[in-house]
Symmetry: none
Subunit: 218 residues, 4 copies
């Protein structure tokens, strides 16, 4: 995905592509920040991993703080897009349970993606130093996903597929039933959870969710 531009737009020389340095730096930064944490990550390491000289990083981003913010924002955008794509598959027609299980499973895949864990870890870690990160990320990711989920659940309720309920609360609880167990199971992102297990968790979440939110005259 990130390599796409690097490969395509290389107009002339292969020796020193002038092309995508900015993106390369952002990618490298996210990798290094995720690996080392903000304070421990060296700008040298980022520059090296991006294949540029250190001052180039500063030419593009000014200082380490701004580089961090931009890298976080970029990854939050990416995560939001992936989540939204999944939520979009939640339609009002079709078998409800398997659809919920599929959406739940895919949401868990997003949630347990390495980069998602890294993003969350950095967020937790650096909130003290960068309080505005919350707004940067929440404006772009988790909240928006929960809201979109609420929208779809509302339509399901209107269609009589769920019982009348507060869609925001339903979405909040559906999300909680999905992701809540993962913190322990993934050991905060240090363990790769296999898809089987994700499906199991999703199925359990959907089971509880439907027992609480299915239409009464089921």
């Amino acid at each position: 995905m990130s390599g796409a531009g690097t490969t395509a737009a290389s107009g002339r020389s292969a020796s020193r592509g002038r092309i995508d340095k900015r993106q390369a730096i952002l990618d490298a930064a996210m990798r290094v920040f995720a690996r080392e944490g903000y304070a421990q990550a060296g700008v040298d390491a980022i520059a090296a991993e991006a294949g540029v000289a250190k001052p180039t990083v500063y030419n593009h981003f000014g200082d380490k703080e701004n580089l961090f913010r931009q890298a976080i924002a970029a990854d939050a955008d990416r995560a939001l897009a992936r989540n939204m794509e999944v939520v979009d598959q939640l339609r009002s027609e079709g078998d409800l349970r398997p659809m919920l299980e599929e959406v739940g499973f895919r949401l868990l895949q997003c949630h347990c993606d390495d980069r998602s864990w890294a993003l969350r870890r950095l967020l937790y870690a650096e909130l003290g130093r960068f309080p505005d990160l919350i707004d940067i990320v929440r404006g772009r990711a988790s909240d928006r996903v929960t809201e979109a989920l609420a929208d779809r659940l509302a339509r399901l309720a209107l269609a009589g597929r769920l019982r009348a309920c507060d869609p925001a609360e339903a979405a909040e609880q559906f999300a909680a039933l999905l992701t809540g167990p993962m913190e322990a199971r993934a050991r905060l992102g240090t363990r790769q959870v296999p898809d089987d297990e994700l499906r199991t968790v999703a199925a359990a979440a959907v089971r509880t969710f439907l027992q609480a939110f299915a239409p009464e005259a089921d």
Copy 2:
């Protein structure tokens, strides 16, 4: 709070002062680590906040890494104790719903305590550098709580107050319904959630939980 003991209990001997000093360093360390993060926290700052000289810290704890681990472990113990005390109030007799709501509310209070958020934030932040922290903390805190909760839910099921179910799964989902929503609501610990809201979340969690896990012939 920590100063009180330092002043009062130093009545006996010098050995008491030793312990006090050690505890003062641990407390100061946790405060500074929570405030600044591991990498940014200076041993100078910790020593200053503890009211001792820097080499004293090294005499007691060897190096910064070990100090960090000890401080984390101490706080994890404290958190475990508080949580256990709450879970212990989940008995098999009495009105189920209000009891669950009360326990849920108290668990949320623990979960949303400043020091709990700080602990989680440090955990997330430093997992890369200290992978063993997971075991230190999980062996002492969250998992043990969920297990204890599962024990109590099992007894409730045996007593016919819940329907037959996998108690581990029930506990996992009860915990998820409680704490899952808090990440967003507390803005990762940067917002102080009022007790009203905690009670609301607890009530909603219990409602969904009971709809899924109450005995069928309700």
Copy 3:
């Protein structure tokens, strides 16, 4: 002031723009060097203040050292011209005392000009790194002025308006009586000395000078 020429005189051709740009860089350089000192002055800042791109500066002047020398030399020329114009007003006819006072006053005005102080400050500052600056500036400014002054004093002595004396020594002491007190009074150029005070100093210098150098049969 520098922008005026840029806008107006660019009527003719492109060759004029070349010269304007060169002069604009020199002016900007002197301003920035005076404000920040040689080492601290950034070529970026000079280029920005001149309204050109950084490489343009290098195209014109090769490197920072040369730019510095050229800027210093240009300002030394300017200062020399102003001083010479004043000394030129020292004629052999007319009332001696008021004429000396007027010339002294005007020399002090030159000496206390902001740009003169800046030039001296830079000279003092960078002598270690640029020993040849002394020759650049002394060949263009202060020594030449003292010599011209000596010439005029010699003619005054020949005309019997001063007693026989070594004109070089007389000029040296006249200059000393004028400028010596200014270092303290102007606080090395950081205080703007009002004209009144300059006239007072000039009058005192002339008084002492004449008591020492007036013809004996006064």
Copy 4:
């Protein structure tokens, strides 16, 4: 002078004297600053020249700015002391002219001392960045000397050895006649002026001074 303490107070070990690091750093700092200028002087170089590690410099002085100020202040103190000692030799009894010539000569020696030129050069150079240096130095050096000189001239006038005059102005002009010529002759401190020449300048200064300020009925 600076070596005195270093040699004497070395209580125990010769390997790593704990004695005079602070003074050694100040001395080294002044040497390096004088040689390179403030901006160009590296703290590394200062530490190396002082024979200590870089952080030791920071432990003692906090940052480069403060180190600079302290070094300047120390040298200004030293210069003041030397000048005062000379002025103190200006008594009201004895032959006036030779005494003035001797004092003038010694003042010129102070003025033309390497460290004095270095101090003045740094002062001129860094006034822009450190405006308070003026007060630090003027409160300690040149002004105080001129005032002390004025005091002595006033006593000479009272004793009838000089004619009635404003002693401040007389001191100002005496100092001007002495030091004014040196700027050109010493090429701003880059040329070592031999004592003969200093005596010549002093004699000329005294000659002019006495012609202006000797009692009228001489």
